[in-house]
Symmetry: C2
């Protein structure tokens, strides 16, 4: 019998196809896309091909917009939103519009065109996280914005238009729909139970163990109870914390380890799958630090979203989350270079 | 400057890329998928390869589960939900589950393996609509269900796993998230304005004309003001009507004409694009006939949904809806066979 499960954090129902439990091998690996190395604007030595550098982690003695960087942030050359302008809304009858004001930046994660975040040493991933944090905290100072969305599209099928490893950031003048929904559910739970819904869920999962993938000193990695997609995973800080931007100095490495290790396991299970990850954080102007809990959602692109999902907002997941967790818990990954690289810094 | 537009019916914001207005030719046609004719279980003469017939429109003198049908409805051989069972919910800590009870049916639209809904004569499309209505009304009688979702996935990229023209129906024991959201927004508008939000919107669009694609005696076809996707279209009845199942006898032909003509125009503009369409209707147990208005959403699959969309619930649309409407208004379609076929019946 298939099962209907409700995600308590989003109040979204998912149909879990328990009968025909799919295995990782049911999802054939995506054919390798062309790497477009010869015309890549994100490679070292081609810094002039991007808009000017906003932030970088660089070797001492090197200057902006030239070689010598480890992580580099630039404006998106084809931004979805523009940084200049005001956020007035205008109405025409029942329609509301505003200028497309916002920031759209690209975090170039490494000079190595052919690697990806799941293959990099943990200390390098930590540098990427430090770049996220720097940009997040900087943009939060712009009072026109309500939310800073950090996300990563990996491989063409998951929406990456360039091959070179990169993440993106979009600062928005409106709280995104999903953030508002999560916040509403979290506030409702807090008002009823006097506790954070994410802390409550994580504690229940640590006891049940069946959806736990792994943990480190500061982060827990789970397959969500009502996963929408096969091998969906969730990373959340063990200590209650609402805002990604408030991560303590010193936690970047633990977070990078949790993120890198999760991607490495997905890679080992599913052979470099296309995926999206998104950092969900408190809309920072809202006073709900007690109720909300930041987290990362990683969704491999293995199935297609079709009429049922578009029409209902519900999902059909052919992989039982407990099975996905077991595969990701038990999978053998390649030896980790992290510790070696860590010592160099 | 890009523009942020809010859809009043779903309260979803969309970024419209007004600067680089894409044209239909910016979306190259999908390569033709294999038609798998030799093993198609939906072709005439292979009726034994599907679960038993639930409903059919057939030539006089022909019996169920054999040739002679025009439109045929069967259970999905690999159903997402099962028809037997109860709808009790069980809780484990903060998680809620229920058995996957529901109906999952396939409406086989024609015996012709190689056609599609945009190419069929209007009278044949009207038979498909009659099959939708018969199944919708029948399943609404099952008190375990809350919603009957009718949708169509066209071509593999839009989620169709079989080539032969077909639509699907899923009856659900829970009101889908999107239906609940639309209903909530419609009820709120009604409580404030004393009018149906869809009627109000349609009237404004009939005056503005810039997003109007075409109309017939009973239906209006529009590009939504805050279209999420390039060439998204909306079909809605001119007379206020909340529930698809209450379509008057005699309206099927007008609806079929509006639907078929829209698909024909999308086909001519975008060369047989993959698409999903979904019939949005009142959750029929809810007493909001005054506030809600049924409609059809057609979304071509031309762009990829990626981290931004998954993370925010917002969308980036590279085609200005007024431009999409103009292309779809002005496109030349092949001569219509509808009237000839109509006279035969």
């Amino acid at each position: 019998m298939p099962e209907l499960r409700k995600d308590p954090m989003t109040r979204r129902w998912v149909i879990i196809a328990t009968e025909r439990a799919a295995r990782p091998t049911d999802f054939p690996a995506e054919r390798q896309e062309p790497s477009d190395l010869e015309k890549c604007p994100f490679c070292e030595g081609r810094e002039q091909q991007t808009p000017p550098e906003i932030y970088a982690i660089r070797a001492p003695g090197t200057g902006p917009n030239g070689p010598g960087w480890r992580v580099r942030v630039v404006s998106n050359k084809f931004p979805a939103l523009r940084i200049e302008g005001a956020t007035d809304r205008t109405k025409t009858g029942i329609f509301t519009r505003m200028d497309g004001v916002g920031a759209h930046e690209v975090i170039i994660e490494t000079t190595d065109h052919h690697t990806h975040l799941g293959l990099l040493p943990t200390e390098h991933v930590a540098d990427v996280v430090r770049a996220y944090l720097q940009r997040y905290r900087d943009l939060r100072g712009d009072t026109r914005f309500e939310y800073v969305l950090l996300f990563r599209n990996h491989r063409r099928r998951a929406g990456a238009s360039l091959f070179h490893p990169h993440s993106q950031l979009i600062a928005l003048p409106i709280i995104p729909k999903h953030a508002a929904e999560e916040l509403e559910a979290a506030e409702l739970f807090y008002s009823r139970e006097g506790a954070c819904i994410y802390c409550t869920m994580a504690q229940q999962e640590m006891e049940a163990k069946e959806r736990l993938i792994f943990e480190n000193d500061r982060f827990t990695v789970l397959a969500p109870y009502a996963s929408r997609f096969p091998f969906e995973t969730l990373i959340l800080p063990k200590q209650h914390q609402a805002d990604f931007g408030e991560m303590e100095s010193g936690s970047e490495f633990s977070f990078a380890q949790a993120l890198g290790e999760t991607l490495k396991r997905l890679d080992a299970c599913l052979q470099n799958p296309p995926y999206n990850f998104i950092i969900h954080t408190l809309p920072y102007k809202r006073d709900s630090r007690h109720a909300y809990h930041w987290h990362v959602e990683i969704i491999p692109s293995l199935t297609r979203v079709a009429g049922f999902e578009w029409g209902s907002g519900f999902y059909i997941n052919p992989v039982v989350p407990e099975e996905a967790a077991r595969f990701l818990r038990e999978v053998q990954t390649a030896p980790v270079m992290a510790e070696v690289a860590h010592k160099q810094v």
